[in-house]
Symmetry: C3
Subunit: 342 residues, 3 copies
Amino acid sequence: MEKTLKELAEYLGGSLDGDGSAVIRGVAALKDAQPGELSFISNPKYLKELKNTRATAIVATADVVVEGMAVIRVNNPYLSFARAVALFAPAKRPPQGIMEGARVSPDARVGKDVTVYPGAFVESGAEIGDSVTLYPGVYVGEGSVIGEGSLIYPNVVIREGVRIGKRVIIHGGTVIGADGFGYATEGGVHHKIPQIGGVLIEDDVEIGANATVDRGALGDTVIRRGSKIDNLVMIAHNVVVGEGSIIVAQAGVSGSTELGKYVVLAGQVGVVGHLKVGDGVQVGAKSGVSRDLDAGQAYSGIPAIPHKNWLRVQAVLPKLPELRRMVGELTKRLDKLEKEKE
Amino acid sequence: MEKTLKELAEYLGGSLDGDGSAVIRGVAALKDAQPGELSFISNPKYLKELKNTRATAIVATADVVVEGMAVIRVNNPYLSFARAVALFAPAKRPPQGIMEGARVSPDARVGKDVTVYPGAFVESGAEIGDSVTLYPGVYVGEGSVIGEGSLIYPNVVIREGVRIGKRVIIHGGTVIGADGFGYATEGGVHHKIPQIGGVLIEDDVEIGANATVDRGALGDTVIRRGSKIDNLVMIAHNVVVGEGSIIVAQAGVSGSTELGKYVVLAGQVGVVGHLKVGDGVQVGAKSGVSRDLDAGQAYSGIPAIPHKNWLRVQAVLPKLPELRRMVGELTKRLDKLEKEKE
Amino acid sequence: MEKTLKELAEYLGGSLDGDGSAVIRGVAALKDAQPGELSFISNPKYLKELKNTRATAIVATADVVVEGMAVIRVNNPYLSFARAVALFAPAKRPPQGIMEGARVSPDARVGKDVTVYPGAFVESGAEIGDSVTLYPGVYVGEGSVIGEGSLIYPNVVIREGVRIGKRVIIHGGTVIGADGFGYATEGGVHHKIPQIGGVLIEDDVEIGANATVDRGALGDTVIRRGSKIDNLVMIAHNVVVGEGSIIVAQAGVSGSTELGKYVVLAGQVGVVGHLKVGDGVQVGAKSGVSRDLDAGQAYSGIPAIPHKNWLRVQAVLPKLPELRRMVGELTKRLDKLEKEKE
């Protein structure tokens, strides 16, 4: 794969500063790039790597000062570079059909142009859409549906009664539709509440590796269109994750909580059950959410409070020992003043 | 499946307010229920949904005021409803035996009425009890034992030397008996301590998806009867989880710690190693336990302190910046008073 | 397997107090040991178990007072005992070759003395070194390399373009090389950044169960020689884990962060992205690291500060309500003093 810089600039809709006839054969990070490769600058933290890079050209915004190399100027360098990466990424393998060693129930429905690897298992009544890929070790339970173009990596478990939309990506080892964690305790015995709901995952969702999305107790657990969920995240029964939300690694959302649209939960956040988190809420890493959160605001802390307040609290925390000492000092001085008055 | 309300009330041991001849065909949450369905109210948070539900009847305690629909009055609505759900849940598939494509070592012992799916693998010397189900991708190591009626979901790994009791449920992707995390460091090299203990999981335990229960270094890691463990929980080597304990998602218990009976660890709790946590202890979400905890008490915080104290600490935290300002103010006022005295 | 105490003391390079002709047939923890077994004492917390143990001999340092049983005196009892355990551990099974039901691409390269179990899957262009074991359900992607003597437990997923060194151990369910979590958002759509880097895992690394190590966006995610990573840990794209580092269960390291050599992250720690953590840094359990950390220091807290400071802060936290009360009291007393002056 080769492109001239002129061709690349046109493809990315950017304007070119430099020699349009230079040939690009690959993409790389600033510090790893070789001559003939394209790189990018998006995070100012890496500006200092600009002067040492061996890249032939970079993608950058108009304001970045660049010397000794060509630049494709764009508004969103991260996005434009992503498009360039896709251009140079290795071509996908053509569909392989249902391969020998795959086990697909005769009464499952399978679309065209699929790849079902050996060791994948599709239960009775399941529906596998066109152009779906099921890697080895994938389990698709009874009556579950996987929409067109979805990509299910090795050893993913999709239990019965799960509906997955189009162009969904689920990474290795993730479990969709395990029983929710519900018990009614009487006389020292935890009686299991049957979990008879399902899971609905809408189009264009991506879920990382070794995550878990439990089935509903009654009714569905829902991940709405375009949401992105990272590795080792826990989504409990009957949670609703709103459209376009982003949930970073090792975060967890407890049962029946509803996240609005475009919510961001940073890494290792926990949200207790039965809450409502408004549209556009952002929650800082490691925070613990224990009450409903208003739309459009940023929150942090355990328990989570408005992010600005949390920053102020965090600034005081390391000074607590000094604060206590000061209060002790003030007390002594006041004791003395009062005594002198007597 | 159909039941009259009279039949249902009798089955649940409740008393009926309303028309006993009404026919129930299913169960649902208040907000999703349709005519002909039974619902329930247990959490007061959902009382407001009572007036809009389309359910034909609900299960509730005697004190809940209900208008326009039948009520089955019981003492524990959550438990009674669970029993009704089980009644309407789809029938289990009859046992399928050792299916073609399952790999069971000729010197493993397999009981009657089992279902061993294609892609399951049972090593030499393992014992699979009557009525056990092993889904695709389950691995059972050498000499491991799975008791009668246990249900092992897809891609669960059970290493060698693991003993699992009766009616145990293990959800997809969970790993039982991986080596504990133990090294002796000398000269900059972390030498692995062989982990030659096993895991003992007693009857009626349920373990969620993608959890891990490590094998003991010497002696066993133990999960006692009736305990319930949620998704993505980590139980380290030689931990003992007491009878009837509940460990919520993403919590972790470090090596050799012993939890008493009926301990509850909420989500994302961490407990350090070599501790004793007393019977009936409850630890709040996200807490960090770093010392032994007395039986029967509730704890929260990092580090965990009595829950009541933690609530008071939490109330002050957001006011820390103001507290610091007040101390600064007091200091100035005192400086002034002292100066005036001179 | 039987050894006399004399033989054992020689093997461990220790000096023997007691009868060298006594026969040892196994190893066990102090509280479980039976006559004929060897035990050890390393953590002073277990000194009280010394007087009740039934062990025939123990491994201990010179300063431990022992009565009524033989002692092998060594400098590092934990390490010496580990060597004794290895001596008595069950022998490994001889190599089984590529077993029936394993699926190895004809254009993969496979060394000698391997064991590839049924249900393992090796893609085109992969290289499996001598004496490697791949358990059932292991997936090895296109062109990935696994070095000599490595041990890959059931249901591990190794995606394409991953290079794994020699004597590496990866426990069940772990996923190496899933796509990093990277999106460029424009117009409410999260566009996926293709993740075209790989993963490099050097020699003698061990990774626990259900962990995840993502592939780089560009360039590699790297785990350097001799590092040990526990269960359910998340290593994000382009992270570098330095040589000999230890990362305890459920910790997470965000994208592009570099850990130095011999860093220790305790359980449930989180580290944000694009940071540098110096050589030998130790981070306490549940801490949140949000800035670069200097080499050789210990840190704790959310956010992480020097560990000693954090201990002082932790001592004050439970006293916050009292501190606030004291400040209120001081204010009143000062109000009174000032009023009297008027």
